[in-house]
């Protein structure tokens, strides 16, 4: 499949994530949309990795070109997990104080 399809597909996923972050009011759903953005990026990285790897294989059968993007994907997953742990803790902390996870509550600082 041409790489353009992957690019457009991943950019669509990413945009859905962005729209979700900008429009939804529930902290958990906003959070899920951010994860969607990260995973769209992961998919795109893997597609690019495959593209470069395939091109390099035709020149040299032993080539490892393009592997670095797949390693990057693992790092993104690990960092996303670390972010989830901190983010959920913050959301729980807020829920304990306000009994709500609605982002519209976040307007005390805007006076």
């Amino acid at each position: 499949m041409p790489i353009q399809y992957y690019i457009f597909f991943c950019l669509t996923l990413f945009s859905i994530g962005v729209i979700g972050v900008l429009t939804r009011r529930n902290a958990i759903i906003v959070f899920m949309c951010i994860e969607l953005m990260l995973n769209a990026v992961n998919l795109l990285l893997v597609a690019f990795s495959k593209m470069y790897h395939g091109a390099a294989l035709q020149l040299a059968p032993q080539s490892t070109a393009g592997i670095d993007a797949q390693i990057f994907v693992f790092f993104i997953m690990v960092v996303a997990a670390a972010e989830v742990s901190v983010g959920l803790a913050i959301i729980v902390m807020m829920f304990r104080n306000t009994h709500s996870i609605d982002i519209n509550f976040l307007n005390r600082l805007k006076n």
């Binding site: 994530g17 953005m37 990026v41 795109l44 790092f75 902390m93 976040l106």
Partner: protein, 461 residues
Amino acid sequence: MNAIIVSTLLGVIMMFVSWMTTSTRIQKNIGLVGMLLLIAANFLQQKGWWVINFDTKGMLAFNQIGLFANMLLFILTFLYVWINGDEIGKIGNHTADFFAIFFFILCGVSILTSFDNLLMLFIGIEILSIPLYILTGSDKKNLLSNEASLKYFLMGSFSTGVLLLGITLIYGATGSFHLAMPIVNPKTHLVNENFLMSAGLILLFVSMNFKVSAAPFHFWTPDVYDGAPTVFTSFMATIVKAAGFIAFIRVFEAQRIALGYTWPIILSFVIVATLLVGNITAVFQRSVKRMLAYSSIAQAGFMLFALYGNSIFNTEAILLYIVAYSLATIGLFAVLVKMKDYSFDSYNGLAKKHPALAFVTTLFLFSLAGIPLTAGFFAKYYMLNALLTAGAGLWLLIVAILFAAVSVFYYFRLIQAMYFISGEPAINELDKTYELKLWVIAVLIIIMGVFPGFMFNYLYF
């Protein structure tokens, strides 16, 4: 490398310290000794002695300027902890955890001063940001702190997503994550003017602007700085922001070529917008803490000048600016921490009751405004010099100086409140040593303002 390893180890040790002893004083002193160890480790690396030396395969590149930036940021952190240690102890139940978080942030800082690969940029930024979300929300019962923390977290991870998309598009265009390599096409020897490359660079630029809170991506800054506990705001506004700038410059030193002639246009737009938003909004603030948040946006506008050119002047200018700005801001926040409320009125008549305190505060404000004989003057001077050397238009310089004049207005409102309005200052009692620590910062600012070359002699020889 030394700094990365030692700071991580110290972070883990501090986590155990919180389990071994409950005394805040002991925990603070262990933290301070740890900072000194970190400074020593970094110094040893500058002299060529490594704890562990292995080939990072082009992931990290250590040069003298990066190590020197490390050194400055570690010393600033040491000063910050030395002054604010007791205040940090008043927040939460486990002081040592905060020191552990500081060490983890410093680990992120030392990655950001030495990365040579976009993967390490991403990891460095995340190691820097994730502990910051915790610090912002560390006042768990306070709703404002909760709100600031959630806001910072959501916006921070959003900008991480943008950063990652940018890195991915750059990878798609060039097939490599390395900073310097892929810009020029090896076959045609022309700059890769690829759509993916340009889009990726713009996204990277947006995300880095977000991290250093430059307009139009500054919306989180006032709320987060206002809501976070004041001691930690001081840390976020100085050391973390400085590390963000060093990373920003490192990325765009090489990559800017791909943006061609559009680069100065985009950068000028961001600079003017940042100066405008920061300075004009700061004039209308009623809370000193919020005024300082907007002033940090305005100062970020000045620091962005260092991105204009590529010469040694820019590096010198940003390092001097970081030190001048951080010293003054740490000092101002250290005074602010002792205030009962953060309005301008609470400073009324401070000069009568605490003349020494009012004097050092005035000095810090002078330095931020860029009055001669303080560090801020030469920082601004070096920055504008770098701007002109880089070939920017004169109009940008004039805009910068005009906005520096605007900044004098809101800084001097505080001086006016302290010296010329009579009243009872709403201040908690201070001990003599606290004032002494503030004097140390004031003396450092004066030294930097009289002999700015002093710092660079150390860098070159």
